[in-house]
Symmetry: C2
Subunit: 364 residues, 2 copies
Amino acid sequence: MEIGRRDILLGSAALLLAPGGSACAATDRPLGYAIVGLGYYGLNVIIPQFVNCTHSRLAAVVSGDRAKAQRVAREHGLSDKAIYSYADFDTIRDNPDVDIVYVCLPNGMHAEYTIRAARAGKHVLCEKPMAISVAECEAMIAACRKADRKLMIGYRCHFEAHNLEAMRLARSGAAGKIRYVRSEHGFVQRDPTKWRLKRALSGGGSLMDMGIYSLQAARYMTGEEPVAVTARESTDRRDPRFTEVEDMIDWTLEFPSGAMAGCLSMYSANQNRILLMGDTGRIELEPATRYDGNEMWTGKDGRERKIVPPPGPAKTQFAGQLDHMAQSVRRGQEPIVSGEEGLRDMRIVEAIYRSAREGRTIRL
Amino acid sequence: MEIGRRDILLGSAALLLAPGGSACAATDRPLGYAIVGLGYYGLNVIIPQFVNCTHSRLAAVVSGDRAKAQRVAREHGLSDKAIYSYADFDTIRDNPDVDIVYVCLPNGMHAEYTIRAARAGKHVLCEKPMAISVAECEAMIAACRKADRKLMIGYRCHFEAHNLEAMRLARSGAAGKIRYVRSEHGFVQRDPTKWRLKRALSGGGSLMDMGIYSLQAARYMTGEEPVAVTARESTDRRDPRFTEVEDMIDWTLEFPSGAMAGCLSMYSANQNRILLMGDTGRIELEPATRYDGNEMWTGKDGRERKIVPPPGPAKTQFAGQLDHMAQSVRRGQEPIVSGEEGLRDMRIVEAIYRSAREGRTIRL
């Protein structure tokens, strides 16, 4: 492990601070995470992953449900001091055991809790989408910069073995000149009471949920930033699930090389797929971005050869993500999927909605 | 075989006409086809298919290459009287052995030869795309109507077992409510001298070639007519192949039910695929529209179950198409893929080009 001079200085300085400071940077002890939000993702997906981590451990939980928080704390050997409500969240600044706050809340709460965490002196890992507007993303980046804290977005596919191998193959020219990337993500959203269907909490429909995977894939498979977007939406507004947010949205991105991407997200059919077409071959992932069980193929014209990718950076994509943030904090380096990466996506998301609304191509 | 009163009347009338009339309608003898154009498709794909036909036979060839035409005629037991040049094509009116003219010429010549064939009293099967403009399509339909001749477009997928079974499954609700159809067709067009790259002959690039398959699939899989189209194009105009026509074009169709279709055609990557996503399952074909070797799957969320479709209406899709036209002529019925069907596609094609050019959604 490489430790820069600045890390040591910060670590040394931190050692002098008690009790609010953090001594993490100078040692190899796993960094402590506070999980904010004990919904499905935080509770059932993220917390069980700390056993797979090398550099990360669970240090605190933040929840509006005291009984649930106490149960989780007990199960993970945390004391009652490691439990926070949303009201007393800011006192987390006084807990030296917490290095990083992981925001697993609904999208509409990301900005508030990221900014409060940064002001409490904590580094922040925030779930995707980063927030519900460009303005919020900019405020989050500014808050973390002002507090000199790292900010990372939970783009787990950057730690997932199949997606990493697909990116490597695409960059190495395995499919020739990249011409088109297709990415489709959707599932049948059945429950009209889900927070994801309430605009104030979600910021939008399938695009803010599964669509972020399609958009990310278009960018990390081409390795380019889009210069134009053209989008169309189809939503049955009489359907009680879709009174506030969109069901299906389809968009085309244009890249400087001349490559294009066609992306889709929807709440009315199951789909999980990434396909890159080059002039000499193709790279396909299906399922592409699941928690596990992803599969990939390369071929000239179909699914000719199944690829078993080399292992990712950790036992699971989730552990890889948690440990990457911990290592970034320790080394004083920017995470590979920083707040700026989340902001880039949100700029495109706003353009997608605008294009669909106005019925025209939007230059980025 | 059902013979309507009008067929018998026409047949009887025709029997009284000699030598220009046709006696086909009242008998079961296979109808005679003149193949116009001995390029790859006419010569290597269509002519070898008459052995698979029940109601169709080769009766004449039309070519600018006399030696080639003579060789083909000899191989198929035709006399020199069954050979026409483009200059003397109109004298085909005097050949009672020819019932149907099959136009296998470059797109830019479809209108002229369809209209000349109709004026010569022949029924017409014309390759897709029907022509290179809506105006041409309308003139072709008018000419055939005026001559009381049938006009069919060579949409062979309507006679291909996998595509027929996919349409049947889609209509029967096998995938639930249809939400999205994806259709991608492309190949690497390597030879810059191909007529398909010359605008005067082709009318356009990949859209006028492979894109017609994507467009057709979007329509026959949804069973709906689009109400709006939004398209984007990407072409490297410095590439000697693409000085006159487009390489890649991507378009989205919106249907009255709220379903959408995302279509792609390109000359810079190989792809041949149709995918229908419904709210309870999906139907996938890949390859989807090849001359042979097509495959299909149904599933909830991936390629779970391979489908072996029941046989199509004839030994091959080509024989099915030839015999359908022969039967339509005999029965005095409109072919299932008539000139109006070709015109519908061409209206959308013009809207696709216009949308890509203007950067906005075009209402149909």
